[in-house]
Assembly symmetry: C2
Homo-oligomer: 348 residues x 2
């Protein structure tokens, strides 16, 4: 239609990982948790169904914020809930970034950051990671109209992490807010949560999709200083979190012993995945997430991806301009990873 | 925070209707359906829970689009799904309206339209309804940078409707797209669905919140021409609809006999509400929605609202600049409406 914003017309659609409906693939391509969520989540959802769905949910999501605040050691006023952490990323972008203004993020990283900038009609600056997945001083340089910096930490596709002590220094140098996207942090040894109280420019987003095995539920949240949350709340849809996801998210965050046990299993399987891939000749960085990033000096990643798909195993082939390509493999069950590794062994 | 967009800092937060958690009020303030949803919806949600929540939902929401297309007599490519129809309104606004550009809507109407414009940094033009709730030629006049016109039809708070034949003419005269917000249309005698195929400028949004008794589920959708849907899909979050709301929405739209029976009950109760309010001296227009709008020549609406709240009945007090105030009363069960009417009878 002629009156569409030119920014929208010009942009390419964001392409999420393949989500084949039906269950014929071993699905190691979108960093889902291979195990079912805590049974308490399903019980809570069934109770919410029994209460009835005809009423609007609580627009403030108070029940979740109270519980999450206890778990995280903050006050409920420091938390904003979203329809997945993608919703949180959207809200933050809309609040801070106007048309023609600038956002910055590392590359290769989460591809959605660019899409968010494009939808907003903003400009974006991609700062390449160093060879060892650290970031140089250009990541924190001032720039005209720089309004927001995104940092996926742990990063995707690498699975690597910038230490929180370095993130603290980055935020101090930056002239704008820093959104630390901690979608994978429950699988890591470090996190940036405590930095939020130190510096109002630091915001931390979290997701229940991966570590709580709730990708189907769409629930994420932001931790930021209360005066920031208050402004961001203006930008969110009033009823962005539905009654069932709220009930499920409350039960999930209440069941920390489930999280601990699931995390231990994922971390153990991740160790086997990483070491075996290295044995097979891949360059695979240590991972702090629930996936591993794999490149091979001789074997083409795209060919491997296609052969694996043919054999019923879906991994993520990723190609980045001026960087190269590789395979991002999500940590499945031991059995799924064994199947995947045996197939790769026969291909390289 | 200093780097917040000035448009966000300056705006007032949108205030949704009161949503007291817990059940002590007869709740007639946010147009929820007083009856529980189709039992098939709950069954479908329980099945989806049993399948597991660890996987991402289908980003294209194909299952719902296929079913809704059959019910509505369009093709699936004409449908875009949203996390409530508020999400749809947001997506359409972001796709068509840039900073400083203009949107238009009637007043008094859905208050969110202004908020959507403000978040986008856009300008807004409010065109007053005529005394009989029709709209004059100024509603379709050209204006510099006019990018989108919203029309809630049936309108809230009035419950009145612009006939589809008039909407067709409006769209022909307008220089920009017209979003017909049909959140309440399942309770009406007319709708604008068939106009979408006639004119690419017409888009129709629908909600499952009211007529399907699923306000807690957050599900809405847009019907527009496929080339429009394709562009709008770029603006939506990939996974904006969760697995449970998708399952529930499919079951809901499949159960058209539930809709027909529920609608008949609501329409019957609405008739009693409107006629009794008139008997009590209120000016209450004929309603095509699941609520009625009530003003009284002598009795202050705010006082009535407060007295009703004191007595445990929550209705919506609404005040519009340069228009006045009144009470919007949602159609509850017969019993709830009787209680409300008896209280009002004792107050006027």
């Amino acid at each position: 239609m002629s009156s569409l914003r030119s920014a929208i017309e010009a942009m390419a659609a964001y392409v999420p990982g393949e989500q084949p409906q039906g269950g014929k693939f071993i699905k190691l391509n979108t960093n889902e948790n291979p195990y079912p969520c805590s049974p308490r989540v399903v019980q809570a959802i069934e109770r919410a169904c029994a209460t009835g769905l005809q009423r609007y949910p609580d627009p403030a999501a108070s029940s979740f914020r109270i519980r999450a605040a206890q778990v995280l050691g903050v006050e409920p006023e420091w938390i904003l809930c979203g329809n997945g952490s993608d919703d949180i990323l959207t809200i933050v972008t809309r609040a801070f970034v106007g048309e023609g203004e600038l956002v910055r993020y590392p590359t290769p990283s989460y591809v959605l950051y660019r899409t968010l900038a494009e939808i907003q009609g903003a400009r974006y600056q991609e700062v390449p990671f160093d060879a060892n997945w650290s970031l140089g001083s250009d990541f924190t340089e001032s720039a005209d109209d720089l309004r927001l910096v995104y940092l996926a930490n742990p990063n995707s596709p690498s699975g690597t992490m910038i230490p929180s002590s370095i993130v603290r220094e980055m935020a101090e140098r930056l002239p704008c807010p820093l959104l630390v996207d901690e979608a994978y942090v429950d699988f890591a040894d470090d996190n940036c949560l405590s930095l939020v109280a130190e510096n109002e420019k630091i915001m931390v987003s979290r997701s229940l999709s991966k570590s709580y095995a709730l990708a189907g539920l769409r629930f994420g949240f932001l931790v930021a200083q209360p005066h920031v949350i208050e402004q961001l709340a203006k930008v969110k849809d009033s009823y962005n979190c539905d009654a069932l996801s709220l009930a499920g998210a409350c039960a999930a965050i209440d069941d920390q012993s489930w999280l601990v046990a699931n995390r231990a299993q994922i971390v153990a399987t991740r160790g086997r995945l990483v070491s075996t891939m290295r044995d097979l000749g891949f360059q695979t960085p240590d991972s702090q997430a629930n996936f591993a990033w794999n490149t091979h000096p001789d074997v083409a990643a795209r060919t491997l991806y296609e052969q694996l798909k043919q054999a019923g195993v879906l991994v993520r082939y990723m190609e980045y301009p001026r960087f190269g390509d590789g395979l991002r493999i999500s940590v499945g069950t031991n059995e799924q990873i064994d199947t995947c590794l045996e197939l790769i062994r026969s291909m390289v």
